[in-house]
């Protein structure tokens, strides 16, 4: 007692074991608490993904590929899994916020990092606009179901919701993490119930006859183009890596939540298409458009089923849109921390302690994209930008394993190396080839613009830990 008197300006370093609950960093003044458990991490991944795959795409996908659209979703899940395994290894080696951008910039250099980082930001902005359009369609259907004689303007509602979500993210200090968990849990329960019942129904347990139909009504090629179209449904798992710095026990929770969320939503998607096409037939499903799942609910459980899935669609598209805005703001923060965009972008609002500039940079462009209005293109461009990142993440793993720097010590190792990351890279880049030419042109232009930004603004920044 008394051998050590207190210097008031003393900073305690705290534990520096990054695998533990907090990252101590005395030099920068203060520890960072890790507060997200496995459940929350799973909810981030699942919540970002489930809105699109079930509540927007089934009708569009069935129209393109017929019942074989379930293969498209399975293919998407397979590719996502090939990427989720390498991403898990990288995330446990570098449990830093920033996700894909961070891995690519450290392993492959600043230019690819800059393209991936800006691509991730814009990809999420595109995806969010797409989810908000989906939300608008659900609102319109709700008005129709309720028998309101007023036509609901889809674009207007989507715009208003984008403004509202951005405003709430800037000013909201209430923790909505719990709410997000509840939304995801109730969606999963709802879908589990419907898909379970619908599945038995399709198998003839309740004496229903299926709509007879060829499995490949449009041939095999549409399976691939549809997989490219719906790949937006698999963007969420990588967002878990963008908050890797806040996840408790990252060695355990990062791989489990990333792989788990892909497997979970993949199963739900395939089952949804299977049941939807069996009960209604792909032609009818297709004619119902973005909100086709509501009528699948009606076929299974009448008005109650339609109402439940309508509510589910509203919640799911809204939660996906919101999660994407938050992730987009995180991506921009990671870029500004590395001086690839101006530092002022990461300024926090003094009153709300929220990154108001970054959130506006996410919410603002969404308005323009909604006015542009071509949802399928929006979704594909979002997928394309993410697929480029996914491919480069796999390459980053191959490079890091080969270089094997001393600082590289992942606690989860990707199984099947180097086949899995090599396949992941090939599949990610390959899927882009099946996209709509307009999406490829738009995505390519965005990536070129990102490269241009690097050359003009950020050429002096060197981030790779492997260079020289």
């Amino acid at each position: 007692m008394g051998q050590e008197s207190t210097a008031p300006d003393r900073t305690d370093a705290g534990p520096t074991d990054a695998g533990d609950a907090a990252v101590g960093d005395a030099a920068r003044g203060g520890e960072l608490e890790r507060t997200l458990g496995l459940t929350q991490a799973l909810a981030i991944g699942t919540g970002t993904m489930v809105g699109a795959g079930i509540f927007v795409f089934p009708g569009l996908a069935a129209g393109e590929a017929g019942p074989a659209a379930m293969l498209s979703f399975a293919l998407g899940a397979f590719i996502a899994l090939l990427v989720a395994l390498p991403t898990s290894e990288l995330a446990t080696a570098m449990p830093e916020s920033g996700g894909g951008y961070y891995f690519v910039s450290r392993a492959l250099g600043t230019l690819p990092g800059c393209m991936v980082g800006l691509g991730q930001w814009l990809g999420l902005v595109f995806a969010s606009a797409f989810y908000l359009m989906g939300f608008g369609y659900y609102l319109r259907d709700l008005a129709t179901e309720l028998g309101l004689g007023v036509p609901v303007p889809v674009v207007g509602m989507a715009l208003a919701t984008a403004v509202l979500l951005t405003g709430v993210s800037i000013t909201g200090t209430e923790n909505t993490g719990d709410l997000q968990n509840w939304i995801v849990a109730s969606l999963l329960t709802l879908l589990g119930g419907f898909l379970g019942h619908g599945g038995l129904d399709v198998l003839g347990v309740f004496g229903r006859e299926q709509v007879p139909e060829a499995f490949f009504p449009y041939g095999v090629l549409p399976v691939f183009t549809t997989a490219a179209l719906i790949f937006t449904s698999y963007l969420g798992f990588v967002q878990i890596a963008t908050v890797a710095g806040e996840i408790k026990n990252p060695a355990r929770n990062l791989p489990r939540s990333m792989i788990g969320s892909v497997v979970l939503v993949g199963l739900l998607y395939v089952l949804t298409i299977f049941i939807g096409t069996s009960l209604l037939g792909s032609e009818q499903l297709s004619s119902l458009g973005e909100t086709a799942i509501v009528n699948v609910g009606r076929a299974i459980a009448g008005t109650f089923g339609a109402a439940a899935l309508l509510g589910g669609g509203l919640l799911a598209t809204l939660s996906s849109a919101n999660a994407s805005i938050l992730s987009a703001s995180r991506s921009i923060y990671a870029l500004s921390r590395d001086d690839l965009v101006p530092r002022s972008v990461e300024t926090l609002n003094k009153r709300y302690r929220t990154p108001h500039v970054a959130l506006l940079l996410a919410g603002g462009p969404i308005l323009g994209l909604i006015l542009y209005g071509r949802v399928e293109i929006l979704a594909e461009v979002a997928s394309l930008l993410h697929l480029v990142m996914y491919g480069l993440i796999c390459v980053a793993l191959l490079v890091l394993r080969r270089a094997d720097p001393d600082s590289y010590a992942p606690s989860f190792r990707c199984p099947g190396h180097p086949v899995v990351p090599a396949l992941g890279a090939l599949a990610s880049f390959g899927l882009i080839g099946f996209m709509n030419p307009l999406s490829i042109v738009l995505g390519g232009l965005i990536l070129l613009a990102a490269a241009g930004w690097y050359l003009i603004y950020a050429r002096s920044v060197t981030l790779s830990e492997l260079s020289s």
């Binding site: 007692m1 008394g2 051998q3 050590e4 008197s5 207190t6 008031p8 300006d9 003393r10 900073t11 305690d12 705290g14 534990p15 609950a21 907090a22 920068r28 003044g29 203060g30 520890e31 960072l32 608490e33 890790r34 507060t35 458990g37 496995l38 459940t39 929350q40 916020s97 993210s169 800037i170 909201g172 200090t173 923790n175 909505t176 993490g177 719990d178 968990n181 908050v243 710095g245 806040e246 408790k248 938050l326 703001s329 995180r330 923060y333 921390r337 990461e346 300024t347 926090l348 709300y352 302690r353 929220t354 990154p355 959130l359």
Partner: protein, 259 residues
């Protein structure tokens, strides 16, 4: 902690940053005989990366925490530890640090004009084993603080039994650690509502030292007894942690994890 252990009991004091609620000077003085673990926590909303908050508010938060640490130093506290944490969950942070720093107790601040009467509710010997060394360390002021030991009689107990088997050893240990026994009052009460009885008794005291309860059906349904008391009382309350606390902490962390 055993009586022969030379280092004093430790207490966790949480400091909300950047603008901490002022601690009463008498409370700071009363805690100065202990090893104080100051946890400065800066609440970060989920939209914000804690690292981002640290970049921007780190210096301001550290300065505010240093000001509080200086007050303890001026009151004579030695060996004070300061930890600055940017967190999305105050509960997670305090739970983690109380385990890491091996804190014997946690302070829940309240108003204190002078420390003259200390209320110490005891459930049994096992519970007392953790509380008594802490009380002895707290009352190192040369005999001006009255200590009231309070026990609520259980069905199978008798008052004489409690005096002999609980208060006897407790007072003995207090004396061994330098507390004047003539200042210790021993009170046994019969009641249906222990929490309310403690709240009532607290009205005639300046500070309460309580043991932590383990999660039970009652605590899950109605909140733990300490929580009930803490909410009902305006005094500072010191909650002494159990040794099997690691389990309790893990359970509660798991509960909050699931929400």
């Amino acid at each position: 902690m055993t009586p022969s252990d030379p280092s004093p009991s430790s207490i966790l004091v949480d400091v909300e940053l950047p603008a901490p609620a002022p601690l009463p000077p008498k409370l700071v003085a009363a805690l100065a005989s202990l090893r104080v673990v100051l946890v400065g926590w800066y609440a970060v909303p989920e939209q914000t990366s804690p690292a981002q908050a640290r970049d921007q508010f780190g210096a301001e938060a550290q300065a505010a925490l240093d000001t509080v640490a200086r007050r303890f130093a001026e009151a004579g506290a030695t060996g004070t530890t300061s930890r600055l944490v940017f967190t999305g969950s105050k509960f997670d942070t305090l739970t983690r640090i109380s385990t890491e720093e091996d804190c014997d107790a946690v302070l829940i601040p309240g108003t204190l004009e002078r420390l003259r009467r200390l209320l110490v509710p005891l459930r049994g010997l096992q519970n007392a084993g953790h509380i008594v060394p802490f009380v002895a360390d707290l009352v190192q002021d040369g005999g001006t603080t009255n200590v009231t030991l309070l026990h609520v009689l259980q069905e199978e107990e008798t008052e004489a039994g409690v005096q002999a088997d609980l208060f006897g050893p407790v007072v003995e240990q207090l004396a061994a650690q330098g507390v004047q026994t003539d200042l210790v009052e021993r009170r046994v009460v019969t009641t249906d509502d222990p929490a309310d009885t403690i709240v009532e008794a607290a009205a005639h005291h300046d500070l309460v030292v309580l043991g932590e309860t383990k999660p039970s059906v009652r605590s899950v349904l109605f909140g733990t007894v300490p929580e009930h008391i803490v909410r009902a009382v305006d005094l500072p309350v010191v909650v002494v942690r159990h040794e099997e606390d690691d389990v309790t902490v893990a359970e509660r962390a798991a509960q909050s994890d699931a929400h």
